[in-house]
Amino acid sequence: GQQVMQIPQYQHVQEGEDFTTYCNSSTTLSNIQWYKQRPGGHPVFLIQLVKSGEVKKQKRLTFQFGEAKKNSSLHITATQTTDVGTYFCAALRSNDYKLSFGAGTTVTVRA
């Protein structure tokens, strides 16, 4: 099946600093979605990337899809306490549209 690996598993960030989390696959992905899950909550959709090399921005969040469509990244600038949570990438398989999630990067913020 289509597996995506996320690194790092945990990210401890000082408030105001930047960080990046990565999503990698051994196979070419048709598209990649990113979700955020706050502690005690449910996953909430952030963005979908479809095109090779695509870059999308949402305020302080920048999402990128690799040229080979085998990896993706999420970069957060000037981290705030509201960024706390677990960020998941999810690969959408083109043949059956199954959405497979990575293990996530759990972000904590030091004030």
Partner: protein
């Protein structure tokens, strides 16, 4: 507009019992998927339904079954519960199969 609704929110069952979890998708959404999320892990795919037909099944034993009704709501059934079935069960609906998933709040199942 109501989002994805799941019931119950919490449930405690004994080993060997059976459980039924329910999900109502966003109005107009024809796709419902079920996921199991164990603490500290990502959601694991269990089932996907579209237009009342099963469109995919994850690597779960036959004790897990599901169905989608004519109104697109869905039920997930788990028989012969094991301690390891304790998890957050998430339902997600999509307007189309290639669009984003909207998740419900989940059902927290504890098997004792």
């Amino acid at each position: 507009d109501a989002g994805v609704t799941q019931s119950p929110t919490h449930l405690i069952k004994t080993r060997g019992q059976q459980v039924t979890l329910r999900c109502s998708p966003i109005s107009g959404h024809k796709s419902v998927s079920w996921y199991q999320q164990v603490l500290g892990q990502g959601p694991q795919f269990i089932f996907q339904y579209y237009e009342k037909e099963e469109r995919g099944r994850g690597n779960f034993p036959d004790r897990f079954s599901a169905r989608q009704f004519p109104n697109y709501s869905s039920e997930l059934n788990v028989n012969a519960l094991l301690l390891g079935d304790s998890a957050l069960y998430l339902c997600a609906s999509r307007g189309d199969l290639n669009t984003e998933a909207f998740f419900g709040q989940g059902t927290r199942l504890t098997v004792v």
